[in-house]
């Protein structure tokens, strides 16, 4: 058994880092206002949204041991649900008129749950097929599904095809002005915090234990009496739902969606965020998203070949920090974040 002393040190180190991070994120819009850099608010909104997508991927990747290279597909679906329904809501035309009429809308209360549900639905379908494979085949099949969706939206001329689709305005939410960057920022922060809290409950629940068991040893899970496939599928669906919410947010933030959102390089980017921040930790992906997007932003000021510098950095982190940036900050035994 660990001694009580070392436990409290770990908790402290983790808690301190967590508190500092939370405070920084809470005061960021104010600080950006004082520094006269309003651009920071939208940059950090973007970071929070991608952090949400990365945390959702980490649920299946880090905790469930399912390496997906198609996670951006669900972000894209969430974003397109918003864009398409908003377009019809703005024009006052139905989305479909047969077999029943579905009208468009611009209300976030309607659209965002729709984005989450449809992404989850797509994840259920894709997951049910992909999870019959494992390892390299699973990576390839998730990649293939995401690319199929990518080309589907590229060829969907009605909704802009390759050029994508612009929103006329952000969605409406009673009591919140989504058009205001500060309010939108805090909404993103709230969404990320809520998803982190849900994930934290989830990984320590019975379900979370089963998922972690499947990551370690699927064969043994079956011989213990678990229907591993079903648990993995539900995990896949939850991850897809989280990505769908991120998609809904990104569509509102940029007021523009395009097939590029679900391109496999985007899935790769989310995967890198998870690896960089620390796979199998809750807050790692948040750190990873922040690090990657900030570095991208910073390096591209100096050179357009910023990838040249980012690449070696990634390699160093993967080689020397086993649990990513989170592992470095929280110490070796900082459990799951």
């Amino acid at each position: 058994m660990r001694t009580a002393g070392s436990i409290s040190i770990q908790v402290n180190r983790r808690t301190i880092a967590l508190s500092i991070g939370t405070i920084m994120l809470l005061v960021l819009p104010v600080a950006a206002g004082l520094a006269d850099e309003p651009y920071l608010v939208s940059l950090f909104s973007r970071i929070l949204i991608y952090a949400l997508a990365a945390v959702s991927l980490d649920l299946m990747l880090g905790f469930g041991g399912m390496v997906s290279l198609g996670h951006a597909a669900f972000v894209g679906i969430g974003a397109y649900v918003i864009a398409i329904l908003s377009l019809h809501g703005f024009e006052g035309t139905p989305v479909i008129s047969w077999p029943m009429t579905i009208a468009g809308s611009e209300s976030a209360l309607l659209l965002w749950p729709a984005a989450v549900v449809l992404s989850a639905g797509a994840a259920a379908l894709i997951g049910a097929l992909s999870l019959r494979t494992s390892g390299m085949h699973f990576i390839m099949i998730t990649l293939a599904f995401a690319q199929m969706l990518y080309y589907f939206f590229v060829s969907l001329e009605v909704y802009g095809g390759d050029d994508g689709l612009s929103l006329f305005t952000r969605n409406t939410l009673p009591g919140v002005d989504l058009g205001d960057d500060h309010q939108f920022y805090y909404l993103c922060l709230a969404a990320l915090s809520a998803f982190l809290f849900l994930s934290w409950r989830l990984i320590h629940s019975r379900f979370g234990m089963v998922i972690r068991g499947c990551r370690e040893n699927e064969r043994r899970m079956k011989s213990l009496g678990f229907a591993a496939f079903r648990y993995r599928l539900v995990c896949f669906v939850i991850a897809g739902a989280g990505a769908g919410l991120a998609g809904a947010l990104i569509a509102n933030q940029t007021e523009y969606v395009s097939p590029g959102l679900m391109h496999w390089t985007r899935s790769g980017q989310i995967l890198v965020m998870v690896l960089l921040g620390g796979m199998g930790t809750l807050f790692g992906p948040v750190l990873g998203a922040a690090t990657l997007l900030l570095l991208e932003e910073l390096l591209s000021i100096y050179t357009e070949h910023w990838m040249v510098y980012l690449g070696p950095f990634l390699i160093l982190v993967v080689l020397f920090a086993k649990r990513g940036i989170y592992g470095v900050i929280a110490g070796k035994n900082g459990n799951h974040g």
Binding site: R201, R212, M221, S223
Partner: protein, 254 residues
């Protein structure tokens, strides 16, 4: 046989030209410890895999507790009370000993589509975890990651996990594999204790353990059961001696 808990009838499994199981039949009575022995490559593990459901036979039937389970999925067999432990230790290395056992308990305690309450606060698990730790003698090691256990302790945990769901029958695949003398003594004690509660089918190479523990022994050669009987009968069986045991039996009966 009405008393059979496990009944295997004419199981056949081919891998290409090799008959890993060839018209293999076996009866395991309720409450007995039955050992399955045979030379290397006799198809012992293949047989066990077909009983646990990880392999499906080409033909033949398996009955467990009065139910035909020939083509039932592994996790369903486990839920019927047919548990197995592995030759190569198969525990969850990154989870603690307690978490390993609590997962095993969870498997037999309702479904696990529960997303909110902490598993470690689940009363059903809490109630069963201490006895499960005690049964395999790992109370003092409960909060360390399973990867840090000694080989013997890992084997104990391995068996403990199979037992946590209170199975009717336990399939033990070479429990003594790679075990030092000290660990083997501990394990023998553990298996002796288990015999009282659960029917066991054990595949094992360690003849000393087999003859010390078994009620009945079945000898497998080239996928076929060539003899079945009490340790004494097996020791006397000329066919068995010729096919497989030879000197080892003499060595043990010294």
């Amino acid at each position: 046989m009405a008393e059979s808990l496990l009944s295997v009838r004419s199981l056949t499994k081919r891998f290409g030209a090799v008959r890993a199981s060839d018209d293999f039949s076996l009866e395991v009575a309720r409450g007995e410890l039955h050992a399955l022995i045979g030379p290397n490559g006799a198809g012992k593990t293949t047989a066990l895999n077909q009983l646990s459901g990880e392999l499906l036979p080409d033909s033949g039937q398996v009955y467990f507790d009065g139910r035909r389970i020939t083509r039932l999925a592994t996790h369903r067999r486990a839920r019927l009370g047919l548990a197995r432990s592995y030759q190569i230790t198969s525990i969850f290395e990154r989870l603690t000993v307690r978490e390993n056992l609590s997962l095993s308990i969870q498997a037999h305690n309702g479904h696990s589509f529960r997303f909110w309450r902490k598993a470690s606060h689940d009363p059903a698990i809490l109630q069963a975890i201490e006895p499960a730790l005690a049964r395999v003698g790992l109370e003092d090691r409960s909060d360390i990651p399973a990867a840090n256990l000694s080989h013997g302790e890992k084997r104990q945990l391995e068996v403990g996990m199979a037992l946590a769901g209170h199975p009717k029958m336990l399939l033990l695949d070479e429990p003594y594999a790679g075990m030092g003398p000290g660990g083997a003594v501990e394990l023998t004690k553990l298996i002796r204790r288990l015999k009282a509660d659960v029917t066991i089918l054990m595949v094992e190479h360690d003849m000393r353990a087999v003859f010390a523990l078994s009620d009945r022994i079945t000898v497998l050669v080239y996928g076929r059961a060539v003899a079945s009987g009490t340790p004494e009968e097996i020791r006397q069986n000329p066919l068995v001696r010729q096919a497989y045991l030879g000197d080892e039996v003499n060595g043990c009966s010294r």
